[in-house]
């Protein structure tokens, strides 16, 4: 009862081997691959490029925060209930700056967090790679590479052979 394959997962010995393997596969025009490492490895970012829209999201979030803060304060002070407070003008904009800043940061921060996780497609407690018991090492000292089945070049046999040539520690075929 084997369902559709998810991809082929291979563990490598260390960051060096992993990066080398990734480069190899890249040179063979594999596009849909992903590596799993216990800490971020910069080199991978060049090998597996992906556009990162997080900064844009954060900027928009901050902007919304700023606008909210300004409109809220101005509306309340001038239109909602204009009150003479200690002879100060209704539109005491210098006093509004603080909250303007704070709300900007607040909204930006929240959108960073939300944005980061949603872009990372999290939460995802269940995932094919978790099928492999050995994958637990990915968050400790294991360096994994997975060529996914959605890759046009993917072919269960050939791809596995290609990977095996790169000298992995071990290889797994994963189903959806």
């Amino acid at each position: 009862m084997s369902s559709a394959p998810y991809g082929i997962l291979a563990e490598f010995d260390g960051p060096h081997e992993l990066v080398h393997a990734a480069e190899e596969l890249r040179s063979r025009h594999y596009s849909a691959m992903e590596v799993y490492t216990p800490y971020p490895i910069e080199e991978i970012e060049d090998i597996i490029p992906a556009k990162n829209s997080l900064p844009a999201i954060v900027f928009v979030g901050g902007l919304i925060g700023a606008i909210t803060a300004w409109t809220m304060q101005t509306y309340i002070a001038i239109w909602d209930f204009p009150i003479n407070v200690g002879g100060r003008p209704l539109y005491s904009w210098p006093s509004f700056i603080v909250i303007l800043f704070e709300l900007t940061v607040l909204f930006a921060a929240i959108s960073t967090f939300a944005g980061c996780l949603s872009l990372a497609k999290l939460p995802r407690p269940h995932h094919p790679v978790f099928e492999v018991d050995r994958f637990k090492a990915a968050t400790q000292d294991g360096f994994f590479l997975c060529v996914e089945a959605r890759d046009p070049l993917f072919d269960a046999r050939r791809t596995r052979e290609t990977i095996e040539d790169l000298g992995p520690v071990s290889v797994w075929e994963l189903d959806q």
Binding site: F81, P123, R124, P125, E164, G167, W172
Partner: protein, 231 residues
């Protein structure tokens, strides 16, 4: 040196490493959105409750020791408000009729009606009737009937169509924002002084113009300073 074990792994052979079942992903997302929704809902509900008639006690007919019907006395018999609420034009407090005023008529009519026994009893014993308050402002709010009545704010603006109330109820919310609506735009509510005690009065189509005229005529100010009501 590396031991390269090329094993074809059959998922059925590998013991399950998954901590969560496939459904977990959906559940997780649902929980997140659900939580956000719940918070929003709770806040909305809170706001609704605070403004609800339950909280404001709006439109809740109050039990009275004597089932007094404004509908009958005002609507039916057409008795003027001031006959009972004697001080409405001169004092902050509109006053409730003294037992004597009730007895002016009820010593003759309905003189034996059991419903009116409390009135007669009060008159006999000299003990007052304890009426249930219908319009009850908080103790830190100071409202003055005389100035409103004298400046063309009709009874029905706040008390509603009393002449249609068998048992009296609170016709408006009496929330601070309700007070302020009128204090900010008196021209929308003011009516000619002649019409103040007219229950059936409806604001004419030219209220905007009329209102502006009357506001000027009566020298009505839009009073929104705190100490106008809170002292």
């Amino acid at each position: 040196m590396v031991i390269c074990s090329l094993v074809r792994i059959d998922p059925r052979v590998v013991q399950m490493a998954q901590i969560f079942s496939g459904a977990a992903n959906t559940i997780a997302r649902f929980t997140l959105w659900g939580f956000a929704a719940a918070v929003g809902l709770a806040m909305w509900a809170g706001a609704m409750i605070v403004r609800s008639p339950y909280e404001t006690r709006q439109e809740e007919p109050r039990e009275q020791p004597v089932p007094f019907s404004h509908e009958h006395h005002v609507g039916g018999l057409g008795i003027d408000c001031r006959y009972c609420h004697t001080t409405v034009e001169t004092s902050s407090f509109a006053n409730l009729p003294a037992t004597k005023i009730c007895m002016n008529c009820h010593s003759q009519m309905w003189a034996a009606s059991p419903a009116l026994e409390p009135v007669r009893e009060s008159y006999r014993t000299g003990r007052s009737i304890a009426w249930t308050r219908v319009y009850d402002l908080p103790d830190f709010v100071y409202f003055n009937h005389s100035v409103h009545v004298n400046k063309g704010i009709g009874c029905s603006e706040c008390h509603g169509r009393v002449d249609k109330m068998p048992l009296t109820w609170q016709a408006v919310s009496l929330e601070m924002q309700w007070c302020l609506d009128c204090h900010r735009h008196p021209e929308e509510r003011v009516r000619p002084q002649s019409e103040v005690f007219n229950m059936a009065y409806v604001h004419p189509r030219n209220q905007a113009a009329l209102g502006r005229r009357l506001v000027h005529e009566y020298g009505i100010q839009s009073l929104t300073s705190c100490s106008n009501c809170h002292r």
